[in-house]
């Protein structure tokens, strides 16, 4: 782990170890329960979710500007720098020397970094101009629930 500031942690993915866990073919109902069909559909190693290990960084979120997109303070972001960012994707961007996580949008010929926090209207869209760039595309969010 590389600690730069009190609020920013950057981790490197460690690809050396393997842990394959079973994947169940039936989806877990979040609404009405359905008759269980608990067939195992192969195994999954979470390392396999990382397509480009040498371009992937794990960053820790600080702040609440993206809660509407399911990104909360303290979450880990799996960020792939090798992907080309498209409009609508959640990205880590550099703006005025700061690293931010926002949704990238193209509107009327201009690129914008849009926050998504219904409860916090103080966050404003930021237009991407000189001195701002895309640092990487967010691929996954990891959150501890318990």
């Amino acid at each position: 782990m590389f600690l730069f500031k009190k609020c920013m942690h950057i981790y490197q993915p460690s690809m050396g170890s393997r842990l394959s866990l079973p994947v169940f073919s039936s989806r877990v109902p979040a609404g009405f329960p359905s008759p269980a069909d608990d067939f195992i559909d192969g195994v999954l190693d979470l390392n396999d979710l990382i397509e480009h290990p040498s371009a992937t960084f794990i960053l820790r979120v600080s702040g609440n500007s993206m809660t509407g997109s399911g990104i909360f303070d303290g979450d880990f972001l799996v960020v792939d720098r090798s992907l080309k960012a498209r409009s609508g994707q959640i990205v880590v961007a550099v703006s005025d020397g700061d690293m931010l996580v926002k949704r990238l949008m193209r509107q009327k010929g201009q690129w914008w970094l849009i926050p998504d926090a219904p409860a916090h209207s103080e966050f404003q869209p930021i237009s991407m101009g000189e001195g701002s760039e895309i640092w990487g595309v967010v691929k996954n969010v990891i959150r501890n629930l318990s």
């Binding site: 590389f2 480009h52 040498s54 090798s82 020397g97 700061d98 640092w135």
Partner: protein, 147 residues
Amino acid sequence: MIQLFELADCDNFYASCEQVFQPQLRGKPTVVLSNNDGCVIARSAEAKVWGVSFGTPHFNIKNIPGFQKIQMKSANFTLYRDMSSRYMTTVSSHVPSIEIYSIDECFIDYNSVAHAQDNAKRLCETVHKWTGISICIGLGPTKTLAN
């Protein structure tokens, strides 16, 4: 058949690594200090322009006019080792074979000389995109000339 070697070398490697993760340092004179902040072991392009020389002891930096603007960072070798391995892995996944020469340099052995310049240019762009580090590539018929 002419054999063509390429030497891929990172620009101001330690300073570049710091600037990837601390974008506020970009465009500013940035130096990295050795263990226990002894002396300067890496300088960004801007710090070179300001006349900070390699090996300047920490206590002598204040003799440089406008030294307050020079960003000084303690070395973070864990980070540099990780960035080095990312860089080497990125290069090796785009070329036939590489030989690691130092923490920030590797020789690339291209089997054919066709499109060598285009390939080198594309490799520079890919490494910059994937890792955030800028590299230079030298081409030559021997390793010495490539360097």
